[in-house]
Amino acid sequence: TSRLICTTTAVQRRNVGASGPEKYTEAFIKKQIEEFNLGKRHLANMMGEDPETFTQEDIDKAIAYLFPSGLFDKRARPIMKHPTEIFPEQRKIQWGEDGRPFHFLFYTGKQSYYSLMHETYEKLLNVQKYQDQLIAQGLSLQKEKRNLAGSRWLTKIELEEMLLEKLSDDDYLRFIQLLQKLMALPCGDIEQKYIQKFSREVPVQMQKAVIEPLQYDERGVAFSTGEGKRKTARATAVVYDNGTGKMTVNGIDILRYFPVLQDREQLLFPFQFLDRIGKHDTVCTVSGGGRSAQAGAIRLASARALRSFVTEKEVEFMRQAGLLTVDPRVKERKKPGQEGARRKFTWKKR
């Protein structure tokens, strides 16, 4: 006879987290892909579209139409995407039936990272050998300049996705340093294809803001408006042509409105930079913020208004002088457990 030993539910409960994230077999993924394709055709049929030319955008629109959801978080709404986008890529089992691992660097723990480092170093040695050969033959080394401006290295997250392995910050830095070393060598062009795998294009000139054309008021004087902000201050500036350099803020002359010299310097900064001090009249309105924030807001507004009066090259110079960027610095919030944003409470030993 067997006795029932009293065990608690804690012992009998299976430990869900112990086995790690869910592992999907290849057969499972294949089945998901087949189901997805079938479902895509059904959906196209339902919507009355051609099943052959049903793109992912059409799928998204159809799902949004058939399953309307009022949830705020976009990620919580119903989605229908290709299984490779939903299920994360997983590494296949790296050892055979006898338990012996396939890769020779398996026992380092980060096999793909170390094998990548080995490959890159091999390329470096190749380039150095090629250099030595050239020197032995007496030919000069070609120093071609590559465009650093348009490309950036892979980020740590992208590299982790590529290798399907977790990396530390140190590892990532070492890899980038090695790549930079490889690129810095004069004959590094041979390995250009290899390096291109690890660099991405940076979208050049993010937003080319549209420069508005000049407007003309009743007297025939050309003018242009601009808006600016800094911290909590919002300002609008109207810059007139053929002026004497007078500036008015909220109906008050700048000498009265900004008694501090630094603020007036900031107001005149765009005009002084373009050598147009006595040529324009400005009428501004500003609200919110403090004295320095209002000055910064008017500076940005007048710089934006001046773009219409000036050539494209000078607009580029203004941008490089930092006149056309919105200052993102705002007051940092106070955190709980501290007295201010950074200041901590007085530390008492007991």
Binding site: V204, E265, A321, T325, V326, G337
Partner: protein, 233 residues
Amino acid sequence: MAAPSAAGLGRRLRAWLPRLTQVRWSRYNPSYMEPEVNKEYYQKPLEELTEEEREKAELKAVRPIKAAPPSLSSSVFSDPMVSKFTNMMMKHGDKVLARSLMAQTLEAIKRKQLEKYHKAPENEKETIECNPYVIFHQALKNCQPIIGLSNITKGGKTYQVPVPLKDNRKRFLAMKWMITECRENKHRRTLMPEKLSQELLLAFNNEGPVIKRKHVMHKMAEANRAYAHFRWG
């Protein structure tokens, strides 16, 4: 008590924070570059000095640029050294007061030099420097130490090891010594601009307590010369 519970909360929060924010961070993306305000830089044609400048210009054409801070301006009157000094003199964020003190100091320097100029005989009039900015720059340059001391712990004991200083550190030390000297070693009733102008003029002629402090630093470094190798491990 409020402090330990707040400290406990803070400790729990600090363990949670690193995943979201770092302590030393900036509101700008790391790809943003510093602005160049100097007008002459933009009037230069394409035959620039080095290849480095050309690469930098290429980068600048692609990357976004930070906004110019309120203390920076392209006018002839803004000087980075003078702004730095004003910021270091500022107390509790009162930039207006600091700037007015700086202006009064420069005016005082000019007045004293003009007095000397008008009293001097004809042949010496050319040697007297009247430009307060030139005097300011030269005085601070004379105060900069060449070598500094750093505390290195080896075998349980802390030694003062002579160590070369970077340019930024030299400038900072010169300005800091000047300001501390003027704040502490003065009569209760003398005002800051007066004392500062006095010290700057003395430093311009390589005299005065700030220069003495620099020499003391150099002598200490020379005395601790034996420990110089502690710098490397």
